[in-house]
Each structure stands twice: as structure tokens, then as C-alpha cells.
Assembly symmetry: D2
């Protein structure tokens, strides 16, 4: 079960960075939807490395193939299997990392957990594993947008190494604006300086982290299942399951802790016959259930662990080793490529909770 | 399933703040353990309101009863049902809140989700629901401490309304020190000023929030199940499932985003024949798996929503209403009572992952 | 999870025959239903021992208490906890069985599995455990009958020790007819001779088994989830999870294996605009999905293991022992009391699959 | 979840008879096992059609490919994805069946459930879907046999159209004997007459059913998880999830209902220091838990629905239709090919419960 996400729309991912390929089986995809596989491919292209100088030069076409679940392009309600073959495998690049534990990587813990030497190139800890997540989300997004015409999920780079972009209205950022630049940051003013932080770190053989903001609009009221499957709880889990993520906050998040209750509460009002909140400091949920306002949250990503500076570590025999990888194909900063991953996990959460609530609506809306 | 937490040690909680009572059924409790029910009661007493001027004056004995799963005090491997009757119900206190949606409470979203008027006093959204969680964790802690003698889980109040306590070594804080003061803050120097923030807010009919740090030591290497059930992912979900929580960060968390990779990486070394890290910026996990170092994380709690100032809101018919509750039995600050809740959820996560890994150890340690 | 049944309507049972009590937590009960607790009590009374000379003289009032999930008698969508206290505990009756393994009981396997001496009186292996199942089904039946007015689930004793009753039209048997006699057999002609088989076995200190037929009508087409959660697969699991059950067959079952395909196939026809089958040898499902015809199946129950004749066995130290229990409070035949248990498990399966299909209907019926 | 089987060793199957292919993702495969993919292929060959005149002439190589989860042939503890491409697709063969509902097939119920016209050739209702199950079981069997050297699981054809084979000692039947003949029946005396029943039915354009017996030896005591996941309950579900199965009985099964308790009980004894039963009428489980004796059960398979005689049915528009398929590629009797399917599902059940019990053994065997 550790490789399955969701309760009704269930995505089970498989595949390592350097085996036959990576993919996902989606159990619980609703039947009767004409699927646009080209749109799934577009999503995978967004996630792919080699798109700009800001990301790893590893070249993979990441061509998606649908192995099952469609007839004439229409979902059957049976498991949808989506698969991407690995192509650009160069295990030689990683060979000398095999016997030593790379600091702050999953090498050591994976070995200690499974008793098997970590597969070359990171195995399931590689960002390549997220292909299955992105493919499952690309399918979900199509269905959500047909059923909930106002549904939008847009993430963007919000800060790099502590320097924040300035976004006047996060709910107004569109995916087109985000995709129009390599950094995936909608702030035209600060963008160049943020990029410079990344490229100068890269030149120094170093890496940087930052934060990503995600805004989800058009979500109906009522999504989220207390007491454990609260919407923010599942979003938090989804985000902390991404490689390199270290923190999550919804609404004002940690900043909310600095306010009085009278400053933080969102007053209710009625607009066009609908209950709304005047402010949205809560971030779109109350008591773990969506309230119809935009959902927004922020995710912290640490600096990439693979650096090209000498580091102290040990090998599998417990001997001290100096590690300095040859320049490989690693991202100097995970942020630009993490943007579609954040969106993907958010969409999987919303899709699953929307389907769960559709069943409840059968009862709650009958009177 | 929304009321069940865990995959192997599964706690299913039930009960509302103002029905017959609250409790938990634990499926997957290992057999053969002599259970100390008095220790479970001690845990419940820590969570209980009415312990100091810093918490709600609501008086409940919270006397735990074991309904099943024990024979002669020994766990049978069958479901362990723990139950606490509600006693101090005064629905009258809440009556005039019934027809209006309290700002930033779960009233509106609960009504919109289930189509049923929220039970008086908050229903499942009440902090009283956490009794089942705490009872399940009290059992788990006993078992963990017998099997892992160095296991400790200690949480404490880390900041109030943006003012941080100073804790030289978080891993050295003991539960005895935390429990010795009403605020549950181990920093003797700043404690009084933090308490003053709470009491002066309370006098003004207002509320405040803050942060709680939790440190878990004595956890073996190998806990956590990539790719979705990473240890930090399940901890994040656990924390965001608590009432009033808005953020989670592990290790350096959001602060990690301000460092270079070369500053953030934890070098490996060997101490007494064991692989260790020289620093612990990661917070005890790498790649979603515990690495044997102390696990530490921080949780943000918003100011309590129930304030005694006039607020704008609407009623169930959508009419604008001014709401000013009569002074009730609400906490001015959730932090002191949230300390055992944070520990409880952390323990549930560790217990579940420890049991999952015990099975894997069967294979990973055989060679 | 072994004590939870269902995926959407999830019943988690707890309690042993001789601890504090037995009960169930239902997670996933739809909100907004006025619950008739007296009807739940009626169900429990049907399951209760001491109703006639054909069943154990053990006297329990089995008074149900609702611990949570209701407000003003209306389901909240939160966990519904139903509890029955144990009253008539006489562990003395069982004492000398404690140290020896009773042939064909769960004593030995339970001890071998959990390493804990089986609780007196059978623990979870006792038929008393089924109280939680019956209570959960009593709730489900109320909801199903309100939503599906033609829904009926009726089981009855079909044979005793190989002697079959004659039932002209199983779909015409009503629960009133079944409940009107101690044997729960609707065949007035053969009933007395079947009862005589039981009472004469009882006089000889022996026990007998038999079969129960269950017919479910008013089930919509479309229930069942291939490939693993086929409707008959979940019914089979439900029935084989009952104490003393040894076999399950749906439709013609084993007799179907004696026919040609041309004799067994159910031709389709159209009645009143609905696709129907001319015959119903399939038993109401095809490909694991209900087809709208009556669902019927048969369950085999072995003779009760507790007999009052001397038997060879061993004790926990592996020493040979002669076992002859003093006359206790055991049923000479499980059949009459198993009738409501069979119905209960069938209703839990239908309820769960109906809720699952309600969500799918959202999509499958939109075009 | 309907396409996932198991709780710890979880097999999620995907694929239709006439899409890109069929396969399985196994989550929970233990790490560190050198996998013999040729042995997996041998299993798939056993299941494949076209092996004899007794089965469908459809020709598929069913060549298995491992997409993930291995490094150097060793299991990593990550998801193992096994895939078989469809090759011999001739949708033309099925075309005229597309618009009419074939009697006793899944066409009508699938259409009613999902609202999507059933895929040509049966979609997920095709026996081809079982490839994923068989592949998952082939992996599990390798691991079980390495860990439990005496473990064997052997199924065989036990009766055809009501005529039973005579097997003196079911526990002595080996897979080699079963595989040595097309019928997969170990009774050399009656085999020819059973085959004749099939071939003469085939000549008449008709089909027959029968029963399969399965015997599992070398299973440790303690497997099975009351109260719902009893070993026989999960076996029953596994068997009833197979296409065309209509009944299940364990031990003496329905015949047990004809005995007195004194005739049916299995006396305990001690052999070589181990608690054993003198007889094994229970079929290897008591109270839902394995007792160390051979597990044996019987499964009923109906006659194949596809016959080559004219039948009355209706089309998707509800119009009466006469259906007489042209001779296609269908099995006249499912039994020979169902033998490995029965074994596969039994092995999946044992593997899952063995892993579950391995974790419990940690506690139950410590004293």
C-alpha cells in the first residue's frame, strides 16, 4: 500500500529511475470519459528534465503509453495503466556512488530498510518516480475540469533560497503565465534575480532550495473527511511525500500563529445567495472541509542533496570516505520541476475527495 | 475510513463532544502485553480541560474504561476498545450558537458536507474527539517503550503569538519538565512572558496561537514506507489532522530553503560501529525513512476561533447576524492541551511504521 | 483490519464473549437518517440465545446502547458506535476447558496464533461476537429499505443433518413466516421432523449441522466490483467468516456443474422495458455484478463442536487428555440462530456495494 | 480497490482481453529474493489457451516482461510490475456479439454498471484478466517455497459434469502428475471418460462445468485473521472472484452438514512434539486459523456461457434477438485452465496471510 495514493481514485505507481520504466495503475477512474492522451503527454513534458539550463540535462522523451482501461479512447471504469519506458540510462554516471552513502540522500536509509543495495541512480527515491503521479493527475484534471468547469490548480515558485517573489494576487496567476518562463515564477520583476541565485550556485557546484505556492480554485464546498482525512491533512501528506520537501502550511500557516483570533477569523457573509468568507486567512478549509474559497498552501523544498563539492561520508562497510561526484545530470534546484509535481499531488487529493463527496452528496443534498 | 488512522496499528475513533461519550477501537494491537490502564488514564488527564487558568474550565473526569481486548490485563491481539463517557454536558451554553455559523469554525462546512445541522458543541470537530487518539497512543507508547527501551516522544510549546521560547537542546527536554508547568514550555526564562500573552488575550476576550515542537528519540533506522507513506508524510498528515493546526515542518523545515546544499547536507560518520550523521538538519529522516537520529518537527496552531468579541457572520438561512458568545468554557489558547495531542499522533505514526518495519526486518536482516 | 468489514460502509466489531461487552463502530453510515433503535434491538433479540429449547439457555438481555453518531436520533455521518454489555458471565462453566484444547474449536489455533491463552468462553470465536455484525446490519437494512423500497433479505433453515425442507418458491418466503417458528424453517410439513433431529441429538449429548438459504430481492442491477470484489466473492467471504460455516454456493452452485451450458444459461428478455432473465440459475449475478434478479445462495454449517461426549484431546502442555464437558449452555445446532447472522452479513455486503455503486451511477447514468 | 487483492502482498491487476496487454503491480513483495522469471513464464504457459483440444485455440505467447522492482534479478522491496502484451487480437471474431447481450455473460451487467459498452471480447470479464493473478502467484510461490520448504499447492480436476474422479489420497497428488495430462486430472482410470464428456459436448456446440479440488500442504499453524479475514473466508472470496465459479467448500464442506458433531470433530493428538489432529475433516483450519494440517477445498465451475447453439436474448436497445455465434475460440470447459487459476488465488491468500502472521509471530512467540 505504500505505493498507492487515494481511497477512491487510487494511483499505484511503479518503476525505478534505471529499470524498464515507470508508470501508474489508476483504479477507480470513472467510466465514460473521452481521454486526451496528448494532454497527459503535455503534463509529462512539463515534469521532464532537460527543459532549460535550470534543470538536469538528462534527456528522456517520457513518451506515455496507455496499456489498459480505454476503448476507443473512452475510460471503461477498469484500471487505467499508463507507462513510460526508460531510455536515457547511463548507470556509468552513478557507478562510483554505488558503494558510498551520499549525504542527505536516501541511499543509506533505503539500504538499512530493505537490506538491498540501493539501485543505481536513486531507485524509487529518484524524481523520475513522480512520472506515475503526474500521469495520474493529468487524467484526473481532465475529468475534474469537465465536471467542475471553474476548477483550476496552479503552482508557482514563490521563493528561492529565502528570496521571495512578489505576487499581488495568487488566485490570479494562470498556468500559462507560470509555464512561460524556465523558473516557473510569475513575478517578472524578481524572476531574473531568483534565476541568478540558482545559476551562480550551480557554477559553484552547489544547490539551492525554496518554496512553492499552490492555489486551487473552483473547488466545491464540502470536500475533506474528518477526523483523519481532513483536506489539509491529505494535502500535507501529499506534499511531504514529494522528494526533497520539508514543510507545508495552509492559509496563513505559520504566520497565523502571530495573530489574535479576532485578527485571524474569517467573517461569513452571503454573496449571490452563497455563504462566503470576507477574508480567506484559513486558506479555503475549515475543520478539514473545503468552504468554497480558494485553497492555497505553501511547500518548502530543501536544496538538492547532490552537490559537486567534496563531502565526508562512509561506505557500506562503514569506512570513512571523501565523496566528490563528477559533474552528472542533476538539477541545481528542484523548484521549477517540482511545480508540476505539487500540482499533480494536489489534484490527486482533490480528485479523490471530490469522488468521496459525490457519494455523500447523494444523502446530504436530498432534503 | 476517515475515522481510522494507521495501517497495522489501526485506531478508529468515535464520539462527539456532547453525545454518550468518546472512544477508540484499536485493531492490530500486538498480543501478550500487560497493559497499564492507569498510565492510559494519566495520558487522558494530561489532555483534559480544566487543569489550569490557561485552559477551558469545562470539567470532565475523562475516566477511561476498557470494553474489550484484555484478559487479566493482557492484550489478546483482539480489538481493544477504550471508552470515556461524557459527563459535563451543558448544551445550553452553546444553544445560541446553533443557528449561526461561527467564523472560522467547522459549523458551516460540516453542515454543507453532511446536510445535518452540526451537533451542539462542535460534534466531531471538538477537541474532545482527540480522547480516542490519546488513549490509542497511550497504549502504543507502553508497547514501544518495552520493545525500544530508548524510545521517547516529547512535545512542548515552542512559541506563543510569534514569541519563541529558547531551548538550548530540544533532544534533552523531558516530559517531566514539560508537565511541571501549566504552559507546557520547558524554557523557565521566557515562560512567564508567554503565559502573560495568553492571559492578557483572554482578558480581552481574544485568543492566541503558537507553535509546538516535538522530538522523538530512540527510533530505529528504517521506519517509513516510500513513496507515499514516507515517515514525514504520515507525520504531516497526523499533525494537520489535529484541530486548529495550520502547518508542519520537519528538520530545519522552511528555514532549510535558505541554505545551500553544502550547508544543509548531513555528513555521514560512524560512531560505535553505527552509521550516524554529524549534524541533523534533516530532522531524523532521509528519503522518507528514519535514519536513527532524533526526529524533530514543528506544528503551527492558529488562534482559537471562539472569541468573545462581536463578529459578523450569517445564519443557516443566509441572513447576516452579529455574533457575540456569552463567556463559555473555551480555551484562550490551544497550545498547552495540544502538547499531548501532538505527542499522541506522533506515537501513532511511529507505532504503525514500527510494526510495518518489523515484518520487513524479517527479510532485510536475514543476509 | 481483520475486524473491519466493508469498504464504504465499514463495520469494525469488538468484544469477547466474557469481557465488558461487544459492539461495533460503523464508519461511513450515511447522514440524515432517523434511526429506529427499537428495530436494531429487534434484530439483536433474533440473534440472542435462550429463545427456545433449540438454542443455548444462556440468558443475555443484549440491550443495545448507541454511544455516538446520532443527534436527536438522526445519523450525523460520523461513526455510529453501538454497544451491548455482557451480563450473564459465568466463567466457572468453562473453567475446565481452559487448559485443554477442545476438538474442532478455535482454542488451539488461537493460542498458536497469538501466544495468549484463549479467553474463557471462546473469546472472539464465540457466536457472541456476531452481535456487532447484526447491529451494523440492522442499521443498514433500515437505510436500504428506505432507499430501495423493494429490498428484502430473508434467510431460512433449508436442511438439518442432510434432510432438506421443501420450499416451493424461495423468493416468496417472508421474514414473518421464518420468525414464526423456533427452527426458522418456512416448511410447515417437514419442520417437526427437522426439529426432532436436533432435539434427539441434544438428548444424546451430540450436535448437528445443516444448511441455510438466503434470498435477496429488490437489489438494483449493477452491484459488485470486478475483478476481486465481485458480489458473489464478497458474499462468499461474508458467509465463510461466520462461525461454523464450511461452504457457500450461489445460484445452482455445485449443482450447476452437472448441467450443459445450454441448460444452465439464463436467456435474456425484456419485461416492462427492463432487461430480465427468463430463468435465474445464475442466482442474481453475472460476471460478479447483480443483474436485477433475486440473489440467492446457500451456506453450509457444520455440527457444533461442543459435544457432551468424551473426546480425546491434548492440553496446552501437549499431554493426552480425555475431555467431557459438563452440560453447559451450548446450542445443539447453530442453524436457528445463524439465520439472522447470514442475513446480517448479506445486508452488510449489499449496503457496501450499493454505496459504492451510487458513486459510480453519477457517471454511468449521465449519458 | 476492486482490482487489488491482498493486504500486505497486494496484487493490483490491469488490462483487458483486447487492449494493449494485461499485467499486475505487486506492492509488498519482500526484498532480497533472486527471482526466477522463467518459472513465472512456466506458470503463464500453464494458464495459456491453445494447449490442447480441450481449450480455446486462441494463440498468445503470453511472454512476461518485468517492468520494475528488480535489480540484477533481485527483488528490491519496491513495486514489481509484470506485463504481458496482447498479440492475437481479432476483434472481428466478436463483432456481432457487440450489440447483443450474450446469455449468462457479463455483457449486460457490465454495461448496466459502467454505462460503457463492454469492450469486445469480454474486457475484464475475460479469463485473460487472470494473467496478472497467475504472475503474482508465481512470484509468491517462489518466496513461499524458499521460506517454507514443505509448502506445496496443488489443484486438479475433480469432476466433470457431475462425474467424479477417484483420488485415493488428495494430499499425495503432485503438480507433475496433474500437468502430465490435458485434463489436469490425476485419476488415470476415469480421465478418458471425463475428457470424452468435454469433447462430445464440444462437438455438439455445447459446454460443461465441473469441480476442482485444491490441496495446500506445508502451511504453518496460525495463518488467518479472525473475525472477518478468516483463512477460509479469504479463500472463498479468492475462488468466487474467478470467472465462472459458483461455489466453495472447505474440509468436508456441504457433506459436513450430514454428520453428528461426534462424527465430525477432529481429535487432537501429539506427534513428534507437535499438536496435530487425528482426522482432518475441518480441512486444515479451525476458527478461521490454519492448524498445520493440509488445507483442502473444492470449487464449483459452471459450464462456459459461450455456446454454439441458438439462444434467445436481447440487444442494447432491448429488442429480442436470436444469437448463434460463429464457432470462435472459446473453451468447451473451463476446468483444465482453471486449475492454475485456483492454485494462483490460493497462493495469493497464503502469501498474504503468511506475511501478516510473520509480524504477529514477533510477539506471539516471544514468551
Amino acid at each position: 500500500m505504500p505505493n498507492t495514493f487515494g481511497h477512491v481514485y487510487r494511483a499505484t505507481t511503479f518503476g525505478e529511475s534505471h529499470g524498464g520504466g515507470v508508470g501508474v495503475v489508476i483504479d477507480g477512474c470513472p467510466p465514460g470519459f473521452q481521454l486526451d492522451l496528448a494532454a497527459v503527454q503535455t503534463w509529462l513534458n512539463r515534469r521532464r528534465p532537460g527543459q532549460s539550463k535550470l534543470s538536469s540535462p538528462r534527456q528522456e522523451k517520457d513518451q506515455v503509453e496507455c496499456l489498459s482501461g480505454l476503448d476507443g479512447g473512452v475510460t471503461l471504469g477498469t484500471p487505467l495503466a499508463l507507462f513510460v519506458r526508460n531510455e536515457d540510462q547511463r548507470p556509468g554516471d552513478y557507478q562510483d556512488m554505488n558503494t558510498v552513502f551520499r549525504p542527505s540522500h536516501a541511499d543509506y536509509t533505503t539500504f538499512a530498510k530493505y537490506g538491498v543495495k540501493s539501485a543505481s541512480g536513486g531507485g524509487r527515491a529518484s524524481a523520475r518516480e513522480t512520472i506515475g503521479r503526474v500521469a495520474a493527475a493529468a487524467v484526473a484534471e481532465q475529468i475534474l475540469r469537465r465536471e467542475l468547469p471553474d476548477f483550476r490548480c496552479v503552482a508557482y515558485v514563490d521563493s528561492v533560497k529565502g528570496v521571495r517573489a512578489t505576487i499581488a494576487d495568487p488566485t490570479a496567476v494562470t498556468r500559462d503565465v507560470v509555464e512561460a518562463n524556465a523558473l516557473r515564477c510569475p513575478d517578472a520583476t524578481s524572476r531574473q534575480s531568483l534565476e541568478d541565485i540558482i545559476t551562480s550556485a550551480q557554477k559553484a557546484g552547489d544547490t539551492v532550495g525554496g518554496t512553492i505556492t499552490c492555489v486551487i480554485t473552483g473547488v466545491p464546498v464540502g470536500l475533506g473527511e474528518p477526523v483523519f482525512d481532513k483536506l489539509e491533512a491529505d494535502l500535507a501528506k501529499a506534499m511531504l511525500s514529494l522528494p526533497a520537501s520539508k514543510g507545508f502550511e495552509i492559509g496563513l500557516g505559520f504566520a497565523a500563529t502571530e495573530l489574535f483570533g479576532s485578527e485571524h477569523n474569517d467573517a461569513f457573509t452571503v454573496k449571490d445567495g452563497t455563504v462566503r468568507t470576507v477574508t480567506n486567512r484559513s486558506g479555503g478549509t475549515q475543520g478539514g472541509i473545503s468552504n468554497g474559497e480558494p485553497i492555497y498552501f505553501r511547500v518548502a523544498f530543501k536544496p538538492v542533496s547532490t552537490i559537486f563539492k567534496e563531502q565526508d561520508t562512509v561506505d557500506a562497510q562503514g569506512r570513512p570516505v571523501k565523496l566528490k561526484p563528477k559533474a552528472g545530470r542533476h538539477d541545481p534546484c528542484v523548484l521549477p520541476r517540482a511545480v508540476p509535481m505539487v500540482e499533480a499531488m494536489a489534484i490527486l487529493v482533490i480528485m479523490d475527495h471530490w469522488l468521496r463527496q459525490e457519494m455523500l452528496n447523494r444523502f446530504s443534498q436530498k432534503s
